[in-house]
Symmetry: C5
Amino acid sequence: MKIGTVIGSVWATRKAGCLSGQTFLVVDTGREDLVAADQVGAGVGDRVLLATGTVASRYCMDAPIDAAVVAILDPNGERKL
Amino acid sequence: MKIGTVIGSVWATRKAGCLSGQTFLVVDTGREDLVAADQVGAGVGDRVLLATGTVASRYCMDAPIDAAVVAILDPNGERKL
Amino acid sequence: MKIGTVIGSVWATRKAGCLSGQTFLVVDTGREDLVAADQVGAGVGDRVLLATGTVASRYCMDAPIDAAVVAILDPNGERKL
Amino acid sequence: MKIGTVIGSVWATRKAGCLSGQTFLVVDTGREDLVAADQVGAGVGDRVLLATGTVASRYCMDAPIDAAVVAILDPNGERKL
Amino acid sequence: MKIGTVIGSVWATRKAGCLSGQTFLVVDTGREDLVAADQVGAGVGDRVLLATGTVASRYCMDAPIDAAVVAILDPNGERKL
């Protein structure tokens, strides 16, 4: 998974019917901004884990989605060398 | 998903039979131009959400397609920090 | 999908049995050269659409292939802003 | 698969229910840091093989995970020209 | 698929049980080094075709593998413009 920071959100005028009710967050992964469906309740500023690809779709009831927030990291939850 | 701007369209002389009737838009994602099937009705200049991979194919009746427009963003629908 | 230009072909001395009979083209996508199975009949110089991933495999009878030519673009078939 | 070096770990305050009990490692692949589920028992400093995509999810009981550690390399287990 | 040159191999001290018996080669694709399962019998110096993603796993009996050598190119088997 990628780690990223939630920097905003988007909403749509028209969209695939099966996307109704989904919240879409903009996540800065350092390399690029991705839009991810959120069912965990993340907000701007949160550090999150993104799952991408078919995995994200399956997690979101098979909606046509290729990125999903699957976890919000603890503020002290990143330990690197 | 990636956010992009529709910058054009393409059409084919020969193609896989199962692609008949599909509209293909060229979408500038900032990093690269992708061609995506459109079933939402996007036009040049629209800001759109792209789903990629198997997810896009499933959304388009399992056609051999790996990118699809799944939403048109509201002109004021992008809120970033 | 990616747009690319067919710049050559490859053939193999040894390969997975299920790849027999497949034609493999080298396609320049601008960012990298990819090798794609071709069932549409593309030739060197053609501008083509590539589908990648599981989608390409399914299109080629589940062969261990992750890129396939799915359309040949019309010489005047690319309209960009 | 990608080769990488385990450089840390992350934990979450909130997460998808099906991620409970998973250990998440941060792996430096040279190009980017990825977070991967670990069921092999890798630790900081280990050189590991990462499988990504749907494959990783299937390996982890279909959890919404797109990267998994599938092997720890032998300290003398990399032979390159 | 990507074309690459086999530049080495890796082996593991600990790994997912279902990876037993697999040979792993390091393949230089020009952009990055990938590790791929080999069932074709490639050796160092060979030019090979790599299939990546779920396709590779399915080719290797659903092992948690996301890259596989599916063909060895003929020494004179690359024709480019």
